[in-house]
Symmetry: C2
Subunit: 167 residues, 2 copies
Amino acid sequence: MTGGATTGSFPAPGHDHAHCIEQAIQRTEAAFSTRGMRLTPLRRSVFIEIASSHQALGAYEILERLSKKKGRLAPISVYRALEALLAAGAVHRLESRNAYFACHAAHHTTREPVILACRGCGRIAEVPGEEVFEAIKTAAALADFRPSSSVVEIIGLCAICDRTQEH
Amino acid sequence: MTGGATTGSFPAPGHDHAHCIEQAIQRTEAAFSTRGMRLTPLRRSVFIEIASSHQALGAYEILERLSKKKGRLAPISVYRALEALLAAGAVHRLESRNAYFACHAAHHTTREPVILACRGCGRIAEVPGEEVFEAIKTAAALADFRPSSSVVEIIGLCAICDRTQEH
DNA sequence: CGAGACTGTGTTATGTTGTTGCAAAGGCGA
DNA sequence: TCGCCTTTGCAACAACATAACACAGTCTCG
């Protein structure tokens, strides 16, 4: 469970960050391209800001960080970039914290990911959850309910934060 | 799966609404009492407003409805009442919609409920989801992650809305 | 090339959701 | 009654998100 930096798990302490981000950008470029969308400079900046944090960032936090680097930027611009990145699947939204995180996983094989959000360091992991979604389907069917989408977010402590004391 | 109005499922079309709300209030009174908390008039009003809607209501929607009935009310008052009701377990928060709904279920037997949110009529059901949470525990353990709480919200259509056309 | 459509961004203002800080009111035990 | 604690009222504010409009780039069809 260590060493892999782009598997959707939490990044290992000494992971090759530059390489990891580089790969994420390439996946994002591919995602935009296959959808006939454009990964414009603004969208790219927003994505890099999110991805390199390895965290879920609020829109205004992204705004603040980008403003420092590139000067004035309006909230709506960030939201529009986020909208495109969400549509391309390059970032996801963490509902329970009104925040956005980069999709580091290559989980295109699984239906939907289960999201692990560490309340210690704020980092996010996406892990496959076939069984979870199967169980959800079953529970919904029992209630005569037709599901269209699911929000599954697990809050807790990653291995590192768990060891270095509860927060 | 029909007829029971207080089991956590969606209320049946002809359910005994007054009785259903009455029971919910009694459960809430019990919940406050066992926690040494007070179910004050304001908290009771807020709870009734939520419970009788059978929906997830935004805080400002609750505010508006109560204002009409009882005159001026500040947001903070609603939020404080919600805080108490959440603490008592009388209402839950629907993270994916920033809304609050009454706990109609007597799910004190299950660990955590799975939430079904109908995007047609806005109504909410809570159903047992042992298997879902077991699968979540397993997925988290595989990622060396220690979960402390989970958000599991299923968006879709209830049986009635599903029949009366997609929305 | 030039007109029109489309997409993306900038600017300003506004809407929605949730909180802070302080003061007054009310319950409750000593 | 006094003192303590919880609850509520009030005003302002912070955080999150969108609306409306203008304009620049780019693509395409003629």
